[in-house]
Amino acid sequence: MLLGPALAFSALLFSIGVLGVLIRRNAIVLFMCIELMLNAVNLTFIALAQYHGVGGQLMVFFVMAVAAAEAAVGLAIILAVFRHTTSVDLKTNTLLQG
């Protein structure tokens, strides 16, 4: 049920997340766009779990655990960078660009 619409919404949300990662420079907003992409993939898992059993739902469970860990460590890194350079703008944080 509703497989096509769910996959369509998932595709739209994923491309919007990609767009956000490409056009924003604020590291925190970039992070939020990555969360948006993870959510889009979760929607695909849930939509297909209707037909393939609960494996898809369990995968969403694991994705959420990994996303929580990623958010905690990533935001700690952003805080540490902010303390060092007083900015979260990726235009000014180019130390690793070579």
Binding site: L2, G4, L12, N26, M32, V54
Partner: protein
């Protein structure tokens, strides 16, 4: 009825995701993202995953987004110059993401019959015969309850990933504490 609500929730999710991406204020972008995630929780409910919907509200909108908003307020990022890239990068980003979206939107044509055909290679079998695991899962959900049907494979088939996840969370806790120290 459920279809209409699903479409409405999906539209809300997509629109607030667009607002999140184009919103200059980081805090407002976070609030729009919260709306997207709440709409997604409603969609999970309609797609027959009530436990995941509850976890979505608890973990994503409850824990992760609060962490984001906390950091945004801590760094005082409310107002300020726009952080959206210049017209060149904007054009490249739009072209890439619209192209990708158009490619992925072909998935909208999928229905159970097409999925069954791609899995088996014949149209002889009905979708219900191909996806018999779904029927087993539905019966398990009726017998053990929604949470029981998810918990049983979590602690048998998926036990190793489950334990590895706990290790990952422990590592994340230690990592966050070390990174948040004044001197690294």
């Amino acid at each position: 009825m459920a279809d209409t609500i699903f479409m409405a929730l999906g539209t809300i999710a997509v629109l607030s995701a667009v607002f999140c991406v184009f919103q200059r204020n980081a805090l407002a972008a976070a609030i729009w993202l919260v709306l997207t995630m709440l709409a997604l929780a409603g969609m999970y409910l309609i797609l027959g995953a009530p436990f995941i919907a509850a976890i979505q509200v608890l973990v994503y909108t409850g824990a992760i987004m609060v962490l984001f908003i906390f950091v945004i307020m801590l760094l005082h990022l409310g107002e300020g110059a726009s952080d959206i890239r210049g017209p060149g990068a904007k054009a490249v980003g739009l072209v890439l993401s619209v192209g990708m979206g158009a490619f992925l939107l072909r998935l909208a044509g999928y229905d159970p019959a097409l999925l069954a055909f791609e899995l088996t290679g014949t149209t002889d079998l009905s979708p219900a015969a191909v996806f018999e695991t779904a029927e087993v899962a539905r019966q398990a959900a009726e017998g053990q309850g929604v949470i029981g049907a998810i918990a049983a494979p979590l602690f048998s088939t998926y036990l190793v990933p489950f334990e590895v996840t706990s290790l990952l969370l422990l590592t994340a806790i230690v990592g966050a504490v070390v990174l948040a120290k004044r001197r690294i």
